[in-house]
Structure formats: C-alpha cells, structure tokens
C-alpha cells in the first residue's frame, strides 16, 4: 500500500471513529445544556455530524482525486475539528472543557482552507501570517479565556453547563479585567482575520479567469457568507437574534463542503469545455496565431503567449521567429511545457493563477498538438530568417567597425609617421648645404620613421587580408600565424587549396582562437587541425587554458559564428571551466 493510500485510509478511519465516538460520548453523558438556540442536544448533534462528515467526506474525496493538493486534507481537518466541537454539549466537566476549548478550531482551519483555496498552499508570507493569527486566536487566546470563565457564575452565558474544571480563581476585579482584555484581543484578531480574508478573496476573484471563477464562485460565496455570519454571531447581538444567527451560521457552514465539491466538478467541466472551445475555434480560424488565439480565449487569458521550441537555435521562439525567454519562478507569468514523445514542442506562457489548475493547460495542449507542430514549423522557419537577419546586421556592423578601426590605425600609425618623416626630410633638405652632419642625423631619423611606417602598414594589410593566404595557401598562412603566436602551436593541416572564402574563414577563425588562447585563456599549448573529406572542411582548435569562454557574450566568437554561418557552416564551442576551449567548425566545400 502506498504512503498516500495509507494516510488516506487512516484519515478516513479517524473521521468515522471521531464522529461515532463523539455521538456516543455526548449522548452517554449526563447533561441537559446545548449551545445557542438549540433546545435539544439531538438537533445540535445532527448539525454537527452533517457539517463535520460533510467536510470530511468531500475532503477525503478531493484528497483522493488530487493527492498533490492540500485542499483535501484541509477539508478533512475542518470536518474533524467540527466533530470535536460536539464535545462541548457533554455533561462531563472534563469532556465539556475540551469541547469548549476546541469549539472555534474549525473556524481557524476553515480560514486556512479559504486562504489556500484552490492550490492548497499559502503562497505568501501575508497569507501565512493571517492563518497564523487565526490559529493563535482559537488556541492560545481561547484557552486563556476559558481558564477565566466561571460557567456557573450568576448570569453566565451557559445555563446548565457543567462546572469549569480548570477555572483559575482570584480577585474578581482582576479576573474580570484580564478576561475582558482577552475577549477584546480575541475580537480584534477575529476582525483582522476577517478583513484580511475578504481582501484576499476579493483580489483572488478579480484576477481569476472566467473558467476559474466558475469553480471559485460556490466556495467563495458560501465561505464568505459563513465567515460573515460567524463574526456577527460572536460579537454584540441580542440573544434572540444570536439564536437565529447560530442556526443560519450552521446551515451556511453545512453548505461549504458541498460548495467545494461543486467547484471541483465545475473545474473538471471547465477543462472539457475549454478543450471543446479550442478545437472548435481552431477549426474555424487560420493564420499564424490561430492556436494562441484559441488558447487565450479558452483559458480566459488575453495576455497568453505561445513559445515554440526551435531546435536549430536551441531556444523558444514566438510565431514571428523572435527568441523568447520563459518566465522564472518570481515572474508574474508562468509557463506550462507541452512535449511530444519526450521532445519539447512548445510552452504556454500564461497567468500564474492558471498554474493552480495543474492539468488544465497540458490537457488543452495535448488536444492541439498537431496544430502546434504545424505552427512550430512555421515559427522555426521564421526564427531561421530572423537569425539570418540579425547575423546580416552584425556582419554589416562588423564591416563598419573594421573600416573605422583601419582608419584609426592608419591615422594614428603610419600617417603620423609619414608626416613626421616629411618634416624631417624638408628640414634635412634645408640644412644639407650648411650642416651636412645634422642633415645626416635627420635622414637617419627619417629612415627610422619610414621603417616603422612600413611595418605598421604591413601589419594593417595582414589584418585586412593576409597576402600569404592568397599567394601560398592555408598551410603556409596558418604556420605563419603559429609562428607569431606567443603560445606554442602545433598545426596539422590538409595541403589542398580551398575556395578563397573558405580559406579566409578558416584563417581568421584560427587567428581569433590563437589571440583568445594567449590573451584570455592563459593556455600553454594549442593544437590546430584542418582536414577535408566528402566535401566538408573540418577545423578544430583546442587550447589547454582556463576555459569558460562564452560564445554569446564574446563579440569575437559571435563574429566568427556569423562568418561561418554565412558560408552555411557550423561552429561549436566547448569551453568548460578548467578544461580548456575547443572550437569545431564544419564548412561545406563542394
């Protein structure tokens, strides 16, 4: 037997025993009193059993249907608390005292239930605080008040009740003052809990979708009416009115568990209704957002978004192909994932409140799976186009940046040297007749500047396009790169010539990788392998550095990715911290 089934059967047995035991215990004891307007204990017990078993029975049903939801256990606990309340009509002083102390427990558990409905969880510290106040009020303060209550004092509210076996005696003025203070505190906390409950329920109603309101309505209406009646009954009404209100309260209370059951059934009907609505709507509409619109209408969430899993970009994308991030745990929306045969298909991003109906979105998602798969193909195509558009924009930007860099390098480097050289040459010409030795010094300085300018121009030209690559091919160009690298490099390369764009892409890939290995990775060794087979050029550059390179954030790697993608190639970066970095490229070379 599973632990759930064991817990469930234990709770069911306890409920049955508590109910029956309470009846025998009360009827078997002497006593004639009954609370409020109940002239007979029998009538009161009928109410107790009706309400207690009503809560416990529907709670056990809900618990069994939705084991992961705490509403069922809370309903069952409310029923048990209500059954324990029946002890207050016992003629035995001790049992009577237990009943009086436990009498308001059911109200606190009901408050907890309403605050937690329908998810069963108190999702914020405010809700937990409110429930905590309710529990303190009905336990600590209730016990304190009963300790000071003389049930047989003249004018006591409980005619015919047994004596209080735990009565604390003392100077009457002091006892009265403390009792009044405790009563006031109880009233104040009860009012606070009531106001908080009203605010929470109202807010929950306003943010609920149409489908959720259908299931919330019965519970919230009966719950609110009951709590309202309890509050009015507890404080400041004439005895005659109090009697009527007690009956009304208990009657209302008796409806609450059945209202919950109705809400549960409506919730089930809501799923079927939503599925029907989606399917009907899909049959009547076309267009890129047909599934999203149908889901939004059926789930009553106009802000709903649909994100399709696009394996080519390893990300979710919307119907226009733009990448989309799924909401996190602290966001105001939630995502329900829809998969097909274990593969992610789409994600429905919806209001958090919808997540409380845990089966709703997956059920509807399964109903529209085929339509989703078709729309995903469209989204994947658009994502590819979007990726190409972004890549094209980056390539243009990279080209502009490169031209700016060349202009800057020319201006700051060779151009300045040549202008200085011009000044020196003019001065040497002026002084050659009158100061030959000084002119010689000036010419030496000019020659030095000329050499520096030439070297800078050569380096600049190599950055634009290395002549060795054109003239002698990839093997020689890569060896030259390796020779200039501060990190030892082992190059193994195919001796074939490839089309110029391929050779250029491979050259700059290796150049960037070597720069990164020396500048960021603190590598001690780099291996470069270039091979070709079956119309495919494969390049692998591996360094033994620190790893941890981020291909998304690094503009150099992203530029390489764009360059490779423009040639229909594929670039993979493997860079785990502490395990070096490996770049692998495949370029089609038909």
């Amino acid at each position: 037997m599973s632990s759930f089934r064991r817990s469930w059967f234990t709770a069911a047995a306890l409920v049955a025993v508590a109910g029956v035991g309470m009846v025998f215990l009360v009827l078997g004891s002497a006593g004639t009193h009954s609370p409020g307007s109940f002239a007979s204990r029998r009538r009161y017990l009928v109410y107790l059993l009706l309400i207690g078993w009503g809560f416990a029975g529907t709670g056990l049903y809900a618990w069994r249907r939705r084991p992961g939801n705490r509403v069922g256990p809370l309903m069952t606990a409310t029923g048990c608390a209500w059954l324990v309340r029946g002890l207050e009509v016992s003629g035995s002083p001790l049992v009577f005292a237990l009943g009086k102390v436990a009498a308001p427990w059911a109200f606190a558990v009901l408050t907890h239930l309403l605050l937690a409905f329908p998810s069963g969880r108190l999702g914020s510290w405010r809700l937990r605080l409110l429930a905590g106040i309710a529990y303190v009020n009905v336990t600590v303060l209730q016990l304190a008040e009963f300790l000071l209550t003389d049930t047989q004092a003249p004018g006591a509210e409980c005619p015919g009740c047994p004596p209080n076996p735990v009565l604390v005696t003392g100077p009457s003025a002091m006892v009265d003052a403390v009792g009044a203070a405790i009563g006031a505190a109880q009233g104040l906390l009860a009012l606070l809990v009531l106001v908080g409950l009203v605010v929470v329920l109202a807010r929950r109603w306003f943010v609920a979708t149409a489908g959720q309101r259908r299931s919330l309505t019965p519970v919230l209406v009966t719950g609110a009416v009951t709590v309202g009646l309890i509050t009015v009954t507890v404080r400041g009404v004439p005895p005659a009115a109090a009697d009527v209100l007690t009956v009304l309260t208990l009657t209302s209370f008796a409806f609450v568990p059945f209202a919950f059951l109705a809400g549960l059934l409506r919730s089930r009907l809501g799923e079927a209704e939503a599925v029907t609505m989606v399917v009907r709507r899909l049959g009547a509409s076309t267009g890129r957002t047909a599934v999203r619109d149908a889901l939004a209408e059926a789930l009553g969430d106009p802000q709903l978004q649909l994100a399709y899993w696009v394996p080519e970009i390893a990300s979710y994308a919307d119907s226009t192909g733009h990448r989309i991030n799924l909401p996190g745990p602290d966001d105001t929306t939630s995502a329900s994932l829809i998969s097909h045969e274990g593969e992610p298909l789409a994600a429905v991003i919806h209001a958090v409140s919808l997540a409380e109906q845990e089966n709703l979105v997956p059920t509807i998602g399964a109903a529209v799976e085929l339509a989703l798969r078709n729309e995903r193909l469209d989204a994947a195509l658009r994502a590819r186009v979007e990726e190409l558009r972004a890549s094209r924009a980056r390539i243009v930007e990279a080209g502009d940046e490169q031209r700016r860099r060349i202009e800057r390098d020319l201006h700051d480097g060779a151009q300045q040297r040549l202008m200085a050289l011009g000044i020196d040459l003019r001065l040497a010409r002026e002084r050659v007749a009158c100061d030959p030795a000084g002119s010689e010094d000036l010419l030496d300085a000019a020659l030095h500047e000329l050499g520096e300018a030439t070297a800078e121009l050569r380096e600049l030209a190599r950055g634009i396009h290395p002549s060795i690559l054109t003239n002698r091919g990839l093997p020689a160009a890569l060896q030259a790169l390796a020779g200039r690298s501060p990190v030892p490099v082992v190059v193994t390369t195919s001796q074939h010539r490839f089309p110029a764009p391929i050779e250029s892409a491979v050259y700059f890939l290796v150049s960037e990788a070597l720069t990164n290995a020396a500048r960021y990775a603190c590598a001690q060794q780099v291996t470069v392998t270039v091979s070709d087979r079956a119309g495919l050029v494969e390049v692998e550059v591996h360094d033994d550095g620190v790893g941890g390179a981020d291909p998304v954030r690094g503009s150099g790697l992203r530029g390489l990715h764009d360059r490779i993608a423009a040639l229909d190639g594929r670039l993979e970066v493997a860079s785990v911290g502490g395990q070096g970095t490996t770049l692998r490229v495949e370029l089609p070379c038909a």
């Binding site: 300045q416 200085a420 011009g422 000044i423 020196d424 003019r426 002026e430 300085a445």
Partner: protein
C-alpha cells in the same frame, strides 16, 4: 631667444620632428603635451606665445581644447594642426573656435607658422 611654443599632439614621433624643425628655425619649444587635459595645465603653467594644437586628441576634440584655453589664459595665438587637407571639413568649426587658423601636418614649416601667427 625665439618665441616660445607649446606642442600638443598625442604622437611622440610627430612631436619630436616638429620640435626639431621649430628649434632649427629659432623657436623655443617650452613644452609638449599628449592630450587636452595636459595641454590646459601646461599652457597655464608655461604661458607660451604660440600653441600648436592637434585637432584630434585622445581625450577631447582639439577645437574644444582651444576654446577652453582661450577662456582660461591670456590671448595666445593658437594654431590647429590637422591631418586633413580639406579645409571644408573644419572651416566652420575653426572660424567659431577663436584660433588663428590651421596648418596641415604634412605642410608644417617654420614659414607656414610665421605666416599664420605673424
């Protein structure tokens, strides 16, 4: 002793050549500065009679530095040095900056400077 000159340019090789040329023609190069901030400090401290100012400095636009110098110091002839031969690029800005004029770096000679500052 010739007129005192402050050279403001971020390229050491150009500053060295300019200094050689000016000193060969009797000018007294009293200081060099590699950026706009250093130019302002040096000009206030050295009070040169002529400032040769590159239009493109690493920390500021040379013409902005010129305006700053003219606001802070006594009137001093400021000559802008530029790599551009195209006066049209800079004419508007030079006319409103208060400098004497500009000399392309490639054409910097003692004669050109004398013609500019008198």
């Amino acid at each position: 002793m010739g007129r005192t000159v402050l050279i403001v340019d971020d390229h050491p090789s150009f500053r060295a050549s300019a200094r050689r040329m000016l000193e060969a023609h009797g000018y007294d190069v009293v200081g060099e500065a590699a950026d706009g901030g250093a130019a302002v400090v040096s000009a206030e401290r050295l009070r040169p009679e002529i400032v040769l100012l590159d239009v493109r400095l690493p920390d500021a636009d040379g013409l902005d530095v010129a305006r700053s110098l003219l606001r802070r110091t006594v009137a001093v002839p400021l000559v802008v040095l530029t790599s551009s031969h195209d006066y049209a690029d800079l004419s508007g800005a030079i006319e409103t900056s208060g400098v004497c004029g500009f000399i392309p770096k490639a054409e910097l000679t003692a004669g050109a400077l004398a013609a500019m500052v008198g």
